[in-house]
């Protein structure tokens, strides 16, 4: 039982990342009709926002100690971050919380990136076939990851969660288990709660605001909304920015779980597309539900008991589910009738 609960928790935090990326992908597909293969790159760019913020606030003052030499004969370097020498303990605190602090920087940066991406390139492909959209956005993703590789190098850059959240919570005792039976890292719990809040926020925005109502109407019938005199294009540009922010935030908060490298967007993109297809192209609840579902399934497939019966199943489970869904219910779990069924 404890093993099952732990794998569910694993699936939830992994599924949180899948759901956040798939949510943005679905928003863009549902509103703009664009299959955006550069969406994974937005996740990666978000992660590198966290890296950049950490590097900027961690800039160090280097002094040399002439009395202490390295084995190669140069004076030993004494390094102290400027922020610590200026702000003391507050500086330490800001450094410690650099990942959550990065969110403040990532939101405007991702809006700008999303806006440039949509206005500068993607808007010219709205009425072009999906194949062309895929080619151009895939090309864009490769360009973005190569830029990151040139700037930050090919190696992963580990980011630490705040010290207070580096250990594990004994959550089993809250539901009647013995102490130590179900422990789970604090940061992963934070990530799950964070993804749930962001998903809730996006849904509330789309359900409870006039802007969201127009976007939803545009997703259902773009032509009629246009006939009512509403500039739906302008709103869709903002939706692209929103999708970029969601993917970026997912990336920022994921950095303490997985050290970011230039390729991480591509790794998540393929999985997230599978999530969108399983959930139903254009269905926001479908994307979220499928994200969590596939995250949990992937975790269960990694259990030794399962792998001893079906070796290698952990590597293919997600694709296996996608094949079954496409054969049995091509529109996906919660997809609209007619989509992908024609």
């Amino acid at each position: 039982m404890d093993a099952i609960l732990l794998q569910i928790l694993n699936g939830l935090d992994k599924g949180g990342a899948y759901a956040l990326i798939a949510l943005g992908l679905t928003l863009v597909f549902g509103t703009l009709g664009v299959v955006n293969f550069a969406h994974g790159a937005l996740f990666m760019l978000g992660a590198f926002c966290a890296v950049t913020v950490n590097q900027v606030i961690g800039l160090e003052q280097v002094t040399l100690d002439p009395n202490n030499l390295t084995p190669w004969g140069t004076p030993v370097e004494i390094r102290e971050p400027y922020i610590v020498s200026w702000l003391g303990d507050t500086g330490h605190l800001i450094l410690d919380y650099s990942v959550p602090v990065s969110i403040l920087a990532a939101i405007p940066i991702m809006i700008v990136i999303g806006f440039i991406m949509e206005r500068g390139l993607i808007q010219f492909f709205y009425k072009r076939p999906h194949a062309e959209q895929i080619l151009v956005t895939f090309g864009l993703a490769i360009v973005l990851q190569e830029i990151i590789k040139t700037w930050f190098g090919a190696n992963p850059l580990p980011q630490s969660p705040p010290t207070a959240l580096r250990s594990a919570a004994d959550i089993g005792v809250l539901v009647g288990f013995n102490p130590g039976e179900i422990v789970y890292p604090y940061w992963r719990l934070v990530y799950f709660v964070f993804s749930a809040l962001v998903i809730g926020g996006v849904f509330a925005f789309l359900q409870l605001t006039t802007f969201g109502m127009v976007v939803r109407a545009g997703m259902a019938d773009r032509e009629t909304v246009g006939l009512l005199g509403i500039d739906i294009e302008k709103r869709f540009t903002l939706v692209f920015g929103l999708a970029a922010v969601v993917a970026g935030l997912a990336g920022v908060m994921y950095t303490p779980i997985l050290p970011p490298d230039y390729h991480m967007g591509m790794d998540f993109l393929v999985l997230s597309f599978v999530v969108v297809v399983v959930g139903g192209m254009g269905s926001l609840p479908g994307a979220v539900a499928a994200g969590f579902l596939l995250g949990i399934l992937q975790s269960f497939a990694s259990m030794t008991e399962v792998k001893s019966i079906l070796p290698g199943i952990d590597q293919i489970i997600i694709y296996l589910v996608a094949v079954v869904i496409l054969l049995v219910r091509p529109r996906g779990l919660l997809g609209r009738k007619g989509v992908m069924e024609g």
């Binding site: 093993a3 084995p71 190669w72 997985l258 790794d267 975790s299 259990m303 952990d314």
Partner: protein, 447 residues
Amino acid sequence: MVDFLNPSRRGVLKGGAAIGAGLAAPTIFSSQAWAAEYLNKPTGDTVTFGFNVPQTGAYADEGADELRAYQLAVKHLNGEGDGGMLNTMKPLTLQGNGVLGKKVAFTTGDTQTKSDAARASAKRMIEKDGALMITGGSSSGVAIAVQSLCQEAGVIFMAGLTHSNDTTGKDKRRNGFRHFFNAYMSGAALAPVLKEAYGSDRKAYHLTADYTWGWTQEESIKNATEALGWETVEAVRTPLGAGDFSQYITPVLNSGADVLILNHYGKDMVNSLTQAVQFGLRDKQVNGKQFEIVVPLYSRLMAQGAGENVKGIFGSTNWHWSLQDEGSKAFVKSFGAEYGFPPSQAAHTCYVQTLLYADACERAGTFMPCGVVEALEGHEFDGMGNGPTLYRADDHQCFKKVLVVKGNENPTSQFDLLEVVQEVPAEAVTYDASIFGGELGDCNNGV
């Protein structure tokens, strides 16, 4: 009499053949096809080495350091810089003016930590760039694939960081040589230290990278720890480059195991160790004992990536920059002066391999692979950082001291992350060459 004004058809053919033969003769007799006794015989005043390292992928950190070391080795071989280990290497035939009178040039390739990409870049270096010797690799899968390619092509392969028993075991080749230690040696060196630190009543859980190196390390460590009396609870294979290991770590929590052995290296080890610590494994008490983590193959670069999570964790390593023998001190001084930080074990083995190859050519008096093989087989040397070392002729494996290290509890600098606990003598890690099978076969000159 030949009528030049009215040539016959037969005459034109005869004359054409004679002129053709005359024009072709000089090139035929001087071309490599006739003159070379071996592939890529250097004809100019340089000799080309091929450095095939991972510049991207899971082992990119090691690859970058390997490349630095190769460049430093070339510098020293060509008589530039302070000479590094050329000042301590014994015996030494090299003069510090290149190899056999030729300056050393090099070409590089990115293995991407993938066997097919590594073979493609090695092939390019041999066929297009004329590389006479290929060296590098930070993955045993890659090393074995490239070693086999070099054997087929007829050039020498001097392995970089490869720790699988198979490299000089079932997949050994006559044209391939390994200075680095292997999984068997890690197990043999680590076991007594683990017994002393954690006792002989332990239950171990293995997480293993799912490729040749991981399999052989798991087997060797299992054999060594079970011989101590430890029980292996479970051994789970994880995909290379998995990134998030949470689904493999959670089953460890309540498995009854009190030791987690991470048969991971590079980025995988950094991720799995960090995540294992985040899951609270090091704070757990199981079977009345403190839960422990062991990383059988360590490197300073990995320790740097994993940060303070490595503190107190045992492992083994081929070499460490803090060693105080003359060879290590000379190399650390050269490398540190050049790059501003100490070399990793990957850098050390690559540097040493380049010097050993060059010295073997000098001793053999030729770059011909079969001559170099003969010079390296059974060669004994010292002054390269691990004490007296033998390149065993039976399997082309080096036998030397192995270091048991522990994550430093109180580091004095950003590089002072591992503490050498014990220098295990070569005799304690030596084994019968036949136990891992394989055949060296014949050497190949490539023509």
